[in-house]
Structure formats: C-alpha cells, structure tokens
Assembly symmetry: C2
Homo-oligomer: 253 residues x 2
DNA sequence: CCGCCAAACATATCTGACAGGTGCGAGCAA
DNA sequence: TTGCTCGCACCTGTCAGATATGTTTGGCGG
C-alpha cells in the first residue's frame, strides 16, 4: 500500500500550498535561524498571489514551527521547536488507548541511551546542569519530608524531570534532546491527571535520590556502562509505580 | 529595556492563535480522526471573528498535520502525520553539522529496541510484512548481482529500508513507528546525496542479506535477545559504511 | 551626541465579492 | 419503482480594499 498522502496528489496544489512549499525550500535551504523572511507584500509580488494567500502559507509554516511572527515585524526563521512535535505526540497518545504506554516504553529506552552517551561525552556544563537538578531534588525532598508539603512535593517532581532532561541534553545528541523535550508534555499532562491526590511515599523519595545520585556519579566519572545500568535500574524500579498510577488514573476516568 | 524574544508569550494572543488553540483542544479532546470540523462560517460565528481569521487558524492546524482540507468540503481531522515531524528533523539535521550523525545514532538504538519488541509481540501480519521485504531484498540482490544494474541496486536499498520500517511497525509501538517513519526522509535524502556514484560491493550485499535473515528468524521464533543482538550486529557492521559514505559526502560538498 | 517623535513600514483583522469544487435531493427516464 | 442525471445549496479558494495597531528608523531639537 502506498503512502496515505497520495490522495492529495490527485488535485492540483492550492496557491497557498504552493507558496508554502516553496517558502519551506527557501527557508530550509538558504536561511539560518534568526533570519528574516521578506515581507508579505514582497512575497505576494514574487509569487503573483494576494497577500492573503501569503499569510495562509506563512501560517502553515508557523504551525510547523518553522517561523515565528510578531505583529509589526517580519517573520523570522525559528529553530525547530519541540512543542510542535509535542502536540503530535499528544495526538498519538490520545488516539491510542495504549499510546501512553508506548510513549513510556520508548522514553525509558532513550533514557538508558542518553545516560550512556552522557557518560561518554558530557561537557563540564552538562554535568553541572545535572548536578544542579540533583541539588534541587535534595532540597525539595528535605522540605517535603517533614510533613505534608504539596508545594515541595511538586518541586521535587519538577526537578526530577529536569534531571532527566539535563541528562538528555548532556548526551550531546540534539535529536535525542529534541524528542525528549517533546515527550515531557504529554507525560506531565497524564501524570497530573493520574496522580490526583496521590503522593509518593517517603521511602520512595530517598530511593529515588540514591538512584539519581548513582546515575550522576557514573556520568561524572565517565563510566558508560555504569551510567546505562544505573539509569536502567532506576527506571525499572519506577516503572511499576508509573504503571499502577496510570492504571488507576485510567480506571478512574 | 530590550525585549528578548523569550517574552513573546506575554503578548496577548492574536485572534487567529486563540482560535487555533481552542480548535486544537476541541479536536484532540472530542473529535476522532476522520470526523469533520464545523464549516469556516460556523466557527467564525462561534468565536466572533471573521472567516479569514478562522482560515488562518485552520491553516496552522493543517501545518501541524492535525487537519486535512479539500476544496468544497469541510476540513476533516487527520491522524498524526509523520511528515510534519520529518520536516522538523530535516531542519535539525540541516542546522547542525553533526545533526545527521545524531540522527543515525538514535536510529540505531531504536532499531535494536524495536527488533527486540517485535520478537516479543509481533503479530502474524507484522512478521509477514518483514518477510515480504526480505523477499524483495533477495530478488533485487539477485538481479543486481549479475552485472551493473543501478535500478535493481536502488530497489535493493529501498526494500532494505522497508525491512527496517516493517520491523518498527511490528514492534507494536506506534510512537516508535511514527518517529521511525519520519526519520526515513532525512536519511534517504542524505544517502542519495552522499552515495552518488558509489555502489555497495557484492560481498556487502550477501552479508546484508544474511544479517537481515538472522533478524527475521529471531523475530519469527520470538527470541527477543537474539533479535536485539542480530540487529545490533547488523547495525554495527553497516555503521562504518554509513559513516564513510557520509564523510565522503560531506567532504565532497 | 543623545533622546524624542512622526512617518514609513509591517502585520492583524474585517467586509464584501466572486470563482469553482462537492454533495444531496428533486425530477425525469426506463 | 428504480436508477440516473442535473441543478442548486453549501463550502472552500482567492482576490481587492480598508482600518487598526505595533515596529523601526531617520530627522530634528536640545
């Protein structure tokens, strides 16, 4: 079976699509992020279409995350924005009952990978970022430990996520970091939904801290295998928690 | 006070963005793929904006791949389209000198993963698809072997890619399959660019066939570890080829 | 040289209009 | 009655022109 997009090829492209395609070529081919594209009027003149058509084409590229527009100034080329991919992931996850599990499955595999890569080639700044997240975790864990403190609890989870994102960044692989960043949104979304009222037990927190510290140590010392193993072990232990959270969330919904 | 571009969120959303956001919510929340959205006029009335504004909002969603529009009929909700993500990957790869290597790095990790998952839970149809690609490979390999036959050569590489895509599909993980599909475009693009005039040695072809067969066998028999190992070994052996191709391609460019 | 302001520029949005593709139902033919 | 065709209502594609408002810049006064 051929591509499903083939059904659009039967019809001639609309003017807006034509302009959008050519603009995309121009942008990807010759324009660096931060550069300005010509004004709507100029583009309209060049393609011999109305300004409205140009606006629609530009809006499509904005939807793709290739351009950023602000009132009064010309559109500027944008670095690929993970939020667009995040929207796609949200759509996939919502369309498929087990989409969230698929997402988590991939996420875990990518975590092990990025952890190992980070151990192999993390920069000083990269390690520092991970370390900073680690310190934040410890701090909010301490504050959350001595009593019911939902705010510190939330900050704990936030810095937890930041730890993992910092590891992904430190992998030095921009594609991984990009995908990782995008995955955060649907995951966060479903967690707040499924974690309503629930809190991690204190024991879970200290275990989590230890596990993260092990990952950090391995990365800092450049021990690739240890980094992979530490991350894998950490994920394994949290997997059950996550799944039970999700299961209860789904059941409640 | 210099306003950095980081604070664009502080500006009030434009009408078109507002409509686009609300439409996105509606679509993701209550509309299944294939469903029609209201007509432009209806949406315009509901949000109290002009039809033009609605059109721009819709065009943004089209750019995101959430909608498909055809002249004369209302826009229909679309299943997430990997080509949008593919465009993002192309942008990343082109912006970053080592972007292509990052992409390959991730791709290889995901191949091992999907191979193992396919062994664990591939459906009969999934295995059949892999098998079909395998047969195509053999056929075009045979035709390419007895002389210079660029066409068969091309078909060989095509079915090679299809083999890997079939494995990704067979993993049963839609997120993986989605990302995988998107990666194919930038990879193919750079390969044709870097492979100009080069051809794989015949020995490489028969080795490739064997390696693929090993993966297929492992998946068919449900041997997860063997599937991962076979795929990893295959990738390891092709990694050098790819890198040298890329290196020569970059050097030539 | 610095700071302020108006004009030029650019985007945001609206109104109104017309062309052309789609789909459904009414009416006609077998 | 059944089936087919044709026309009309609906919908999107595109244009022109107009107003509102934000951004940039060049010139002018201090």
């Amino acid at each position: 079976m051929a591509r499903s997009e083939a059904d659009r090829g039967e019809y001639p492209l609309t003017a807006a699509e034509r302009v959008a395609n050519e603009l995309t070529e121009t942008i990807l081919g010759t324009l660096a992020p931060g550069a300005q594209i010509p004004s709507e009027a100029d583009i309209a003149a060049r393609f011999e279409v109305s300004r409205l058509t140009v606006r629609e084409a530009v809006k499509m590229l904005v939807g793709r995350g290739l351009l950023h527009i602000g009132r009064g100034r010309r559109a500027i080329v944008r670095e690929p924005d993970s939020s667009v991919f995040a929207a796609l992931l949200v759509a996939i996850v919502r369309n498929d009952p087990k989409g969230l599990f698929d997402l988590i499955e991939l996420r875990m595999a990518m975590e092990s990978l990025s952890s190992g890569l980070a151990a192999k080639r993390a920069s000083r700044a990269g390690v520092q970022a991970i370390d900073a997240a680690m310190r934040d975790m410890r701090k909010s864990a301490a504050e959350a430990a001595d009593g019911a403190n939902p705010e510190a609890e939330a900050r704990f989870h936030e810095s937890d996520l930041q730890f993992h994102e910092a590891v992904a960044m430190a992998s030095g692989n921009r594609v991984i970091a990009f995908i990782f960043e995008a995955m955060a949104k649907p995951l966060r979304e479903s967690f707040v939904m499924s974690r309503r009222g629930q809190t991690l037990r204190g024991a879970g927190r200290s275990e989590t801290l230890e596990a993260h510290q092990a990952v950090l140590d391995a990365i800092r010392t450049g021990n690739q295998r240890a980094a992979v193993d530490a991350m894998r072990a950490h994920l394994k232990s949290t997997e059950l928690d996550i799944r039970s959270h999700l299961a209860s969330g789904v059941a409640a919904a």
